[in-house]
């Protein structure tokens, strides 16, 4: 994969795990044993291949329409009607403008939907967004005209949109399906027209281990949908289907979160970079239509960094970037090649100089509207770093259960990253620890019935099995989680209990899983390791939150070492516990997260609050406990000027919605308390004009543009297949009974039997024939008569 390295090598070479000789020896051990087998298999394979190749030739020639080119080609989209050309009807181009101020990133995502067909279209696009994005704006732009969207209750927004679509007005609807997945619909795009949709959202910046980071997903990994298909859903669906899955009893909105996938062409601009074998879709798999359609699904990204700190390093693990420092101290970052295919998350990391490493930060924003009383309320965002325990801490014995996802969505690079991470984690075990490994796809298998002592032979056994893991099948996560959380014998609290969950999180029933984790966690702590180019960030973060653990993301094989080191630091170092924040008297504070979680090494206290009842003064004090010692930190409260706290209000409202949703999970969504919470969320989202599970953005143009007689057809805009991933085969059934193989084997075996029966006779006859043949063809020098032949003989 392509990595941007411009501020020195980020991973020292000696830290990289390179395969040793021992590794290769182990890998190719036993090859001598298999040499005979290999020989037999090769002979068989050659015969089969010869027959297969001949058959293939015949088929290709016979069908007439299929050329070699077509065999290489593959295209996902059938344009509706028309001449039956397989072209993507709606073309997509994206541009993200990110502006980071303080601890909030404000992102304006501009997406252009270009109708390349000669019919009126409705574009339906599954829009992946960061899992903690507060979506605060929607706008449509057609040429010079600008239509601003408003937040309405979900059902109402749908009605407004449908009415506008029917009436022939331009309209857009943005619905939340998951906190990190939205559906964007744009109705009545004229033939040849381009409609731009602008989505504006705010997102808190992450700070961990001295590095700020920001993630911008551009596509998604297809989610696995567990459960039984609801039988009568099919008829209802027909009118509104944009997904490949049908609603099931466990994921009733499956069709909304399963967009069609599309394989983007290989980026030619990065041609010089080394590619892992099989990493990107090879040239041979490149869809032909896309070669000509070209340029769809590309994103350009511009970031303006105004952290107020001198930076030591800006980097992006998955993209090549350029940046320069401007005279006002801000940094401007952009993609090196202008744009990139939307097939992987964009991540940006920046690290302040060691001398300027922040210990605390405070940003405030005055509420635009007056608060409850006379005074306006203030929104506040706070970052406080607890003390570091230092290096000499006693390492407690641990019991770790590693859970590795080997479902089909992990195919390709993901499974390699997952295996590499797991092997690294196994090598990190110490005598006195206990461990177990659970592998799951459609079924769950534990390597050992119970956690075993981390002895050499157990670890070796686990390593051998891990190396043999392959990705296929479904993602039945619930049984695996249940098994992992029930591994400890009751009453045994002598060990620190940890569950490390390595997955891409590609499931549709996230909330049911959070409920499971919440209910069954007991003393354990759950850590998630997000794998792949487009992991489900929502699952990763919330599972770790409910599991009272932490989360890391690995998007590239080169990142395994660095990210796993960060995880080990969290697993092995003492926690900061019993955190409590004391606010000055007289202030009414509504802060989120409601209860401060325990912190792992490198993590700061991060919260957003709304403050009523007085101006900001005094100081806020943080108390906690680390490695058996009490500590106290305080920070002077004061207002930050110069608009550096813009957007905190939205971030606060978003955090409050999340907190209410979490409570809803505990009381049940359809209980009375759950409905009350729904009402609160709805009101909050309407007040702050945010998208939420119960509110959507809708924008409608007054003017009717589509002529009466013409219809509008729906065009699902596919999402790009995440880089390095293999699409699952589940959609296509196996459609060969293997008749030819059977017949061929039968013929071969019977022939062999015949040969064995009459072998000796046959051999004799064959030899005789051969001798006769040779006699006839090869001239006999003894009986040479012709002059020329005689000459030849003499010459010898």
């Amino acid at each position: 994969m392509n990595r941007a390295l411009f501020s020195g090598q980020r991973v020292p070479r000696d830290l990289l795990v390179l395969p040793t000789e021992e590794y290769y020896r182990r890998r190719y051990r036993g090859s001598r044993r298999g040499r005979w087998l290999l020989f037999v298999v090769t002979v068989l394979a050659v015969v089969l291949a010869a027959v297969g190749a001949r058959a293939e030739e015949g088929a290709a020639a016979g069908s007439g329409g299929v050329t070699l080119n077509d065999v290489e080609a593959g295209d996902l989209l059938f344009a509706g009607g028309g001449e039956g050309r397989y072209l993507p009807a709606v073309h997509l181009a994206s541009k993200a403008q990110v502006s980071v101020r303080g601890l909030v990133a404000e992102v304006t995502l501009k997406q252009e939907f270009a109708n390349r067909s000669d019919q009126w279209r409705e574009a339906v696009y599954a829009l992946p967004l960061p899992e903690n994005a507060a979506v605060a704006g929607l706008e449509i732009r057609v040429g010079e005209r600008r239509i601003v969207g408003k937040v309405r209750e979900r059902e109402k927004a749908q009605q407004i949109y449908k009415a506008a679509r029917k009436a022939g007005k331009r309209a857009a609807l943005l619905e939340q399906q998951r906190p990190n997945l939205f559906t964007n619909k744009v109705a009545n795009i004229a033939p040849g027209e381009t409609v731009q949709v602008q989505v504006r959202y705010l997102q808190p910046v992450r700070y961990d281990g001295g590095t700020f980071s920001l993630r911008l997903p551009t596509t998604l990994t297809p989610r696995y949908i567990p459960g039984e298909v609801i039988p009568d859903a099919q008829t209802e669906l027909a009118a509104d289907s944009s997904g490949w899955a049908l609603p099931t009893d466990r994921v009733p909105d499956a069709h909304k979160i399963t967009p069609f996938m599309w394989i983007p062409p290989v980026e030619s601009t990065l041609g010089g970079s080394a590619k892992l074998p099989g990493a990107a879709p090879g040239r041979f798999m490149q869809p032909a239509a896309e070669r000509s359609a070209g340029g769809s699904h590309r994103i350009s990204i511009d970031v303006e960094l105004d952290g107020g700190l001198p930076l030591a390093d800006i980097s992006s693990p998955y993209h090549a970037i350029d940046f320069d420092k401007r005279s006002d101290g801000r940094y401007a970052v952009r993609l090196k090649h202008g744009s990139a295919v939307m097939d992987r998350d964009f991540a940006l990391q920046w690290r302040p100089r060691t001398s300027a490493m922040p210990r605390a930060a405070l940003f405030t924003q005055k509420s635009p509207q007056a608060g409850d009383g006379d005074e306006a309320s203030t929104y506040l965002q706070l970052l406080l770093l607890p003390p570091d325990a230092g290096r000499n801490v006693r390492r407690l014995p641990r019991e770790v259960v590693y859970v590795i996802d080997t479902s089909g969505s992990m195919g390709g690079n993901s499974i390699r990253q997952a295996k590499e991470s797991l092997l690294l984690a196994l090598s990190r075990l110490q005598p006195g620890d206990r461990f177990n490994v659970i592998e799951f796809n459609s079924d769950t298998r534990a390597f050992f019935p119970r956690p075993v002592a981390a002895e050499k032979q157990h670890i070796q056994h686990a390593r051998d099995r891990v190396e043999g893991l392959r990705a296929s099948g479904g993602t039945e996560m619930a049984p695996a989680l249940r098994l992992a959380l029930s591994q400890q014998l009751p009453g045994d609290n002598s060990l620190v209990r940890q569950v490390v969950f390595i997955t891409d999180g590609a499931v549709g029933n996230e909330r049911a899983l959070f409920e499971l984790i919440h209910g069954q966690l007991q003393q354990a702590r759950l850590f998630t390791v997000g794998i792949g180019s487009a992991p489900n960030g929502h699952f990763m973060r919330k599972a770790a939150q409910f599991g009272r653990g932490a989360s890391i993301t690995i998007g590239d094989l080169g990142e395994v070492q660095e990210q796993m080191q960060a995880l080990f630091a969290k697993l092995e170092n003492p926690l900061v516990t019993d955190l409590q924040l004391t606010w000055p008297r007289g202030l009414k504070v509504d802060a989120y997260p409601k209860r401060l979680p325990d912190l792992y090494r490198g993590e700061p206290v991060q919260l957003v609050a709304r403050i009523d009842g007085g101006s900001l003064k005094g100081e806020v004090a943080l108390r906690g406990r680390l490695a058996g010692r009490q500590f106290r930190r305080s920070l002077l409260l004061k207002e930050s000027g110069d608009g550096s706290g813009r957007g905190i209000g939205s971030v606060w409202a978003r955090a409050r919605i999340e907190s209410l949703r979490d409570r809803q999970l505990e009381v049940g969504e359809h209980s009375e308390a759950g409905r009350e919470l729904r009402q609160q969320i709805l009101q909050l989202a309407l007040d702050h004009q945010l998208a939420s599970p119960y509110t959507s953005f809708v924008a409608v143009e007054e003017e009717v543009v589509r002529p009466r007689g013409e219809g509008v057809s729906k065009s699902p805009v596919p999402n790009a297949v995440a880089r390095g991933q293999v699409l699952q085969t589940q959609a296509y059934p196996p459609t060969a009974a293997g008749l030819y193989a059977q017949l061929l084997t039968a013929a071969g075996l019977l022939g062999l039997a015949g040969l064995l029966c009459r072998g000796r006779l046959l051999k004799g006859r064959l030899l005789r024939r051969l001798r006769e043949l040779l006699r006839r063809v090869v001239p006999d020098p003894r009986r040479a008569r012709r002059p020329l032949e005689r000459g030849l003989v003499r010459g010898h």
């Binding site: 016979g62 007439g64 299929v66 296509y732 008749l739």
Partner: protein, 192 residues
């Protein structure tokens, strides 16, 4: 001695394979007759009839490709269903519904010679109520099933899926041969 054992083993295994192949073909042919009978009964009585007492699948449509023998289409794309007849995949829509109808079958039994279907060829599909739906072949295409999903869309249409290449020996290959036929809403209604 060794030779004798080997001979016997080869002969037995060979006969077993041959028998297996014959059984596959017989099953595919015979089941179609039984299912066709059950289908006719269902159309006349209106009730779902199982083709044989222990059947784990049921007919959902009748498919006629150009002027060939009609094929009975079963529900689901599982291996059991496909052994007896073409299967209507679970993700697809009913005939005539605004969702692509996708039907898959084995290239070596029911969909032998699917590659001879040229663009323009007519296809008929009878639904559970006896109505015939008409389609016209628009395009054929080879796709790699490891990289793509079934293109099912919110429009009526028919998608036939089988393995590719047709004569290949290996049954587990990733390539699929697709035939896409557009729906003809004004097709002549044929009464039974």
């Amino acid at each position: 001695m060794l030779r004798g054992t080997l001979f016997a083993a080869c002969l037995l295994a060979g006969l077993w394979q041959l028998g297996g192949a014959a059984w596959l073909l017989a099953k595919a042919e015979l089941a179609q007759y039984l299912i066709a009978a059950a289908w006719e009964e269902k159309l006349s009585s209106g009730e779902s009839v199982e083709p044989w007492p222990w059947a784990d699948t049921r007919p959902v449509a009748k498919l006629q490709l150009a002027d060939r023998e009609p094929l009975m289409v079963l529900a689901g794309g599982s291996g059991q269903a496909l052994a007896f007849g073409p299967g209507m995949l679970p993700a697809s829509g009913e005939p005539g519904e605004a969702r692509t109808t996708a039907i898959a079958a084995h290239r070596d039994t029911h969909f032998t010679g699917l590659d001879q279907l040229q663009p323009g060829a007519p296809i008929r599909l009878q639904d559970g109520r006896g109505r015939w739906h008409h389609y016209r072949v628009m395009e054929t295409r080879v796709v790699n099933s490891e990289r793509e999903r079934l293109p099912v869309f919110a429009e009526p249409g028919l998608l036939l899926v089988t393995c590719y290449p047709f004569g290949a020996v290996d049954p587990g290959g990733p390539l699929r041969y697709l035939v896409y036929a557009e729906y003809l809403p004004g097709g002549p209604p044929v009464q039974l």
